[in-house]
């Protein structure tokens, strides 16, 4: 199992705390790297080296200041060296347009916040990773 840290890209402190709490419940062994906004994520992405440590999954919040989750997703999925990274979008609601756009951009799965342990696990299963 890939034990590299999972990335959580989320700007809201409360959401971070709640998500981490849920992740703890899921008894995932991986540690979590928290990136506070989209621009941080893009920076970290650019530092990735092929063959180096790559996150097994990126949890990406949609609505963030500066650089939004959609833009990060777009960047990941349009970059040949990055597009295979599994991305799980975190949405406020399963309102149609948001979800549709995520999938159009190439998200692998989405989870409605607050991240519930069960939903999260289902999402991971769709990724076929764990």
């Amino acid at each position: 199992m890939d034990l590299n840290p999972i990335w959580l890209v989320e700007d809201s402190a409360s959401d971070i705390e709640l998500t981490l709490s849920a992740l703890q419940e899921s008894s995932l062994a991986n540690s979590v790297v928290v990136l506070r906004d989209g621009s941080e994520a893009l920076e970290r992405l650019s530092e990735l080296r092929p063959g180096g440590a790559v996150p097994p999954v990126i949890l990406l919040d949609i609505k963030m200041p500066k650089v939004s989750g959609m833009e990060v997703l777009r960047k990941i999925k349009s970059d040949p060296s990055l597009k295979n990274l599994p991305v799980v979008m975190l949405t406020s609601s399963n309102a149609g347009p948001d979800v549709r756009e995520c999938y159009l951009l190439g998200a692998n799965a989405y989870v409605v916040k607050p991240v519930e342990f069960g939903d999260f696990f289902d999402a991971l299963k769709t990724l076929g990773k764990f």
């Binding site: 959401d15 709640l18 406020s92 609601s93 309102a95 916040k113 607050p114």
Partner: protein, 512 residues
């Protein structure tokens, strides 16, 4: 045949012809003595041949006309013929008859005029008819003169043969200036063509045409000015052939009034257009503000989710973490806080749903309502599990609608029915359909639950308006507003009836 024989045959033939004629044929000497008298003469004059022959002609001549006979005979002596002379004769019974006589001189073998032959035709009937006609014409002229409209009578040549005082006034002519003139002098477009056409129609047809509208033309006065007229034609049979009577009405005033009405109408139309434009502007403004409200609701409810989420999340964590350390009242506080946040979540969800309704497209297909009702019943199973619920379900027709939206309506209505019958030992819920006016389909959901006070009917379908307190029956007060939105977007309508403590019926009609 011998000479004598053929003469005899000829004479016999002659006599037969004379006697079979309907006209009186007789002859007299130049002094007037009657020589021969045919059968018709007997009938016409009333004297038999034996009574007439040998008598003077004056037998059948009224006293005042004796000189006339002398004059006729004089002409005969001169060798002239008199043809179709109309005169009056007297019958045996004294009655007068009108006759038309044709006299011819009779010559002997030497060519000397010795007698006169007369053919007399009884023209009494004809004369009577002519007199009658004259009388009628006279009466007609009287009527004509008295008519309020200008009356002009035109002959087949298009010339005016009669007109009345009104016509003189209309056109500014004296009668004698117009008689004999072409009617096109006063009605330039003429109805001469119409004259020929209309004048030859049967009296019945013409009468039928007369009733109703006339023909609008222009009349021209003596001074050259033109004015609008309306004429109505009718044929007139007369001794001079078929004439056409035109009743002429000066419609200058009427035309002016018509123009005014038209102008008023146009003005009215313009005002209506303006008003409509204003209204549709306002409507657009209204629909824009509705759209604004909807997008506002959308973004607000979206943004509200985050803090709500946190509220709920941390309360739950708190609950889990400190459950054992909290005393009863503390636990109660946390419970209340959690419930409140959950309620807020529902409110926001509902609000979001409501706002989405306005923005989404309606995708119409034939929707199987029975399927939806059964699905909803299954979804509501957890609620009905420990309850006595009697379902009365009719077979519902398919309706053209957006399936998802219609499902929301039924979810709301059926959900409500279940909710408000909660206090009944046996809940009765009836779902059916009835035909509505104009081919609409009307679906109803009826329950025997708490009902509602019809006094507050207006509030029922509004956003967040409820007719029951949250303690009685929970709810956000948006379900019916959503249902109404959906139904109205489909071009239908929704309404309800209810009696407090008895039950409620909710109806919605969709165009088919």
């Amino acid at each position: 045949m011998s000479q004598a024989n053929s003469t005899l045959v000829a004479e016999t033939l002659m006599m037969a012809i004379v006697d079979s004629s309907d006209d009186a044929i007789y002859s007299k000497l130049l002094d007037g003595t009657i020589l021969s008298w045919n059968r018709a003469a007997e009938i016409i004059y009333g004297y038999t041949a034996s009574e007439a022959i040998g008598q003077p002609m004056s037998l059948v001549v009224p006293p005042e006309r004796h000189q006339e006979v002398q004059d006729l005979l004089q002409q005969i002596r001169q060798g002239d013929r008199v043809k179709h002379f109309e005169t009056v004769r007297e019958r045996k019974d004294g009655s007068r008859i009108d006759v038309s006589v044709t006299l011819s001189p009779v010559m002997d073998a030497q060519g000397k005029i010795t007698a006169c032959s007369v053919i007399a035709r009884d023209i009494t009937v004809r004369k009577d008819a002519e007199k009658h006609l004259e009388q009628m014409e006279g009466r007609y002229r009287g009527l004509l003169e008295a008519a309020p409209d200008g009356m002009v009578v035109v002959n087949q040549g298009g010339k005016i043969v009669l007109l009345n005082a009104q016509a003189e006034k209309h056109f500014g002519y004296r009668r004698d200036e117009l008689l004999g003139q072409k009617v096109t002098n006063i009605i330039p477009e003429g109805f001469a063509e119409r004259l020929i056409a209309d004048g030859t129609r049967s009296a019945a047809e013409a009468l039928a045409q007369q009733i109703g509208t006339g023909i609008e033309l222009n009349g021209r006065r003596k001074d050259g000015t033109e004015f609008p007229i309306e004429i109505m034609l009718s044929p007139l049979e007369s001794t001079e052939g078929i004439l056409v009577t035109a009743a002429i009405r000066d419609i200058t005033e009427r035309k002016r009034a018509e123009r005014e009405i038209l102008a008023l109408n146009r003005d009215l139309e313009r005002r209506v257009e303006l008003r409509t434009a204003e209204l549709s502007c306002a409507m657009r403004g209204l629909s824009e503000s509705v759209k604004e409200l909807e997008s506002f609701s959308y973004s607000v409810s979206h943004d509200l989710r985050a803090p709500l989420r946190h509220l709920d999340g941390f309360l739950t964590l708190l609950y889990k973490k400190s459950y054992s350390t909290l005393d009863d009242s503390a636990k109660h506080y946390v419970d209340c806080a959690l419930q409140a946040s959950q309620r807020m979540g529902r409110l926001i969800d509902d609000l979001l749903q409501f706002s989405r309704l306005g923005r989404s497209e309606i995708r119409k297909m034939q929707v199987d309502l029975n399927l939806i009702v059964n699905q909803i019943r299954k979804e509501l199973e957890p609620e009905t599990r420990d309850r006595q619920v009697v379902w009365k379900l009719d077979i519902l027709p398919n309706v053209p609608a957006d399936e998802g939206m219609l499902r929301q309506v039924l979810e709301n209505l059926i959900g409500n029915a279940l909710k408000f019958t909660r206090r009944r030992p046996v809940a009765e819920i009836e779902i059916g359909s009835e035909p509505g006016p104009n081919g609409e389909v009307v679906i109803f959901v009826r329950d025997n639950g708490a009902g509602f006070d019809a006094q507050y009917y207006n509030k029922m379908f509004q956003v967040f308006q409820r007719l029951h307190s949250d303690q009685e029956f929970e709810g956000t007060g948006i379900g019916l507003a959503i249902a109404r939105r959906v139904v109205e977007r489909h071009g239908g309508r929704i309404w309800a009836e209810g009696i407090v403590g008895k039950g409620a019926s909710f109806y919605f009609a969709l165009p088919s």
